[in-house]
Symmetry: D2
Subunit: 261 residues, 4 copies
């Protein structure tokens, strides 16, 4: 049967990335430090570079490789190995493989100690080839209370949910940090963590704690950056916070971009 994808291309343009996207697949995610594993749902983007003279890639191999790896737990290191495997399997010089999934922590309310699951989003990205990249993405929500609103008002202060996102590039040999410590670092950069379950005593605690710790969106990313640079094995990071302003219909955001050296 004719194989058109393997034909020659003549435009002279190499393809930077070609592959599949928006592919949902069951995943057992793994925290490489603690060994904790969670069955969850992942969304994949899997692509390779294609030289100028090759017409097409073999899209079905991405899905076949995902199925072949079965339910083996996936941490950042294992994800890197999977990207290297795909690079070979597709006969490519570079692969760019990204997965994103929901990760849960059992979080206790600060006073009553009542616990429930709190979601966050974790992503792994691996780019193989001449300029390798090993990236961890973390997204978590926290509470931001406005210092200006507090300072100028006789009572109260506006506050809102803030979505904090970080992308961390790791040295090739570095291992993934404990999810929970990284998530805590981000939450502590804001006015207060948020919680899945609060009783009245907890609500009092969170309200007052946030009021006592006001932060601008600029402060959140600076607080996080100050902690992130102290983590081992990090070569670069981007940290962004988006405040879902409770006094506006639009959002405010701030971003720090940092790289070692």
């Amino acid at each position: 049967m004719i194989d058109i994808q393997s034909g020659r291309a003549t435009s002279g343009f190499a393809i930077e990335s070609v592959g599949v996207t928006g592919l949902r697949y069951p995943l057992v995610a793994r925290d490489d430090v603690t060994g904790e594993e969670q069955a969850t749902l992942a969304t994949w983007r899997m692509a390779v570079a294609l030289p100028a003279d090759k017409r097409g890639t073999h899209m079905s191999r991405f899905v076949a490789a995902l199925e072949a790896r079965g339910r083996r737990p996936l941490g950042l290191t294992e994800h890197w190995h999977f990207a290297e495997h795909l690079t070979q399997l597709l006969g490519a010089e570079r692969a760019d493989i990204e997965t994103e999934f929901t990760w849960f922590r059992l979080v206790k309310a600060p006073v009553t100690g009542q616990a429930a699951q709190l979601e966050s989003k974790i992503g792994y990205r691996a780019v193989t080839g001449a300029s390798p990249q090993k990236t961890l993405r973390v997204q978590v929500a926290a509470k931001a209370l406005c210092p200006c609103s507090k300072a100028v008002s006789d009572r109260g202060a506006h506050n809102q949910r803030s979505d904090i996102e970080v992308q961390i590039d790791y040295e090739p040999a570095a291992t993934q940090p404990a999810m929970s410590s990284l998530l805590a670092l981000l939450e502590q950069s804001a006015s207060s963590p948020i919680y899945p379950l609060l009783k009245r005593d907890d609500e009092k605690y969170v309200t007052e704690a946030a009021y006592d710790n006001p932060v601008f969106v600029e402060d959140i990313v600076r607080n996080a950056a100050t902690q992130l640079v102290q983590l081992p094995g990090i070569s670069a990071f981007q940290i962004q916070a988006i405040n879902r302003e409770s006094i506006h219909a639009h959002d405010c955001y701030a971003r720090i971009v940092w790289s070692r050296g």
Copy 2:
């Protein structure tokens, strides 16, 4: 050329709605009370009922009719006439026509008076036929400050953006109310309106006003309902508020469903 859509169907099932959806089109929206017109962007869903013995409808006629009406301003009454026109044009017993667009108001900050445009979403729905329905949808954001958090805490109170949505069914002969008064009614059901532009003096005002007027999500929909029932020409409504909780990753919501008699 063969016309397959006009063929006979044999399953015995009538189609409740068949048509196009997700169709974006330029729109001049009109406030029937004030006469104000705005050039904006609409998303349309246009469908008709299809009897059990007819195989298909003529999808292209929906788009042709939209183009044919050109830039004539569209208020709720004109929307109803357009639905009647489509009912005839498609040879249907019932049409179900819905459009949604962004509508702006020039809103002044409460102290400095600085003004900017504030968005809201407006929708019209017209169902023709034996059980006619003429519905106005309005969606606007406001600020909600939690009464429990205020009452139990020594300082501060958690607050958040609240998305308030109402669907109002009008008597056939009723005209659309002034957009601005309906939007104001909804905003005043919450702790405070939100604003596109606030200077420090305004921020103090809004912060304190919201602190002085705490509402649960249940209160918002009850406050709105109390006002809505007094409006003329309304046969039924649904009012819903969704608080984007600043202490949780999930939202809270409340809904009231009301009909006359």
Copy 3:
């Protein structure tokens, strides 16, 4: 500590639904017929009715109840029991509990037999009280090839991904059907199922099978309806298909609404 939620309300309006929404939680979903269980990710909406004289509900109890049930597998029947439990727990006359999750099947390519996971969306809804409702929602993608395009063209025919959604109301005592048979019923209503993984021989098969079985969006919902009415225990259903038209920027859709007697 003061309990404001338990205070009295005076507006005279009962709240139809009040609760939490957009709450993501780990879930072990269960197929009641086959007994198959899958660890997946659910999004919950959980609400109760609130009488006119009660000011607020106790939002934290929804999350606490979800955590308390732990990882017990959830089929449609168990979901109903959970809704009854929440009705009692919140002291309500009616609860309205909905969960939606991604469900996977191992699907084989039609010629080579190569298998991979294919996603679909499943939802359960339970409304307790005077007008109980027990609803299964299923959403799956399939392939639709246009009969008109085939009939009028000398070669080829336009085709597209079609998203098929059904909501089935079950008699109180009915059990959930096997997911896989319901999903297959929906896929067979279109021109062809879609697949997670196809080699060239499979692609030939699917292309020709779809070309030999053209369907309008109206045909898809009628084909499905013809099969659905024959299933036991169904009191009502809504079936909808949305074709992501490959010749337009907008979509086409059709819906059948059916109830027994």
Copy 4:
């Protein structure tokens, strides 16, 4: 009144971007070549760089500046001037200003000539400062018919809607190209344009034209790249196509990244 934003920051981290996002505003968009103007709806992201020693920016100035410019038409050149104005207004070394809006063309069906509006998305981005960037973003849908499916099948070929996106960096002095010619360039890279309105004769034409011109997702971006490099004033571009596969639940994509010299 105290001005906390103007206070000093001590973390040592400069903020790469701080500002507002998700801000919807009415816009009169302008095609700099043809002079055509359209009233539409824009979504803005507006940010500036903040030095390490400054605590906060003045968010309200972004919205005030947007309101102050009123309904003056906005082309890519005027957008650049607006970014320069904001840079000054915020006292920043660099601003990063992005707007995205829906742009319509009146498109005629290929045989009957029946015309209707067809949407596309246009975006402008301007980054001022030491490394200035002037970027035009264009997103349009087209039809892609699979060459492999056509070659291996005895009849038919799978095809789908393809979303084509390009980001073009312009030399500082370059003017925006005519929207319509750029959109046509992208559409002609696929198997066929799509249309807002097709009668049966048109549907035959489009079906056969697409069948006669099969393209992989890789071909689409190469076809577009071959044309784009010939346009004057372009310093770099990224072109991406995403095929909404009609045989899969996931999408396929390809991307070319190019820069002059």
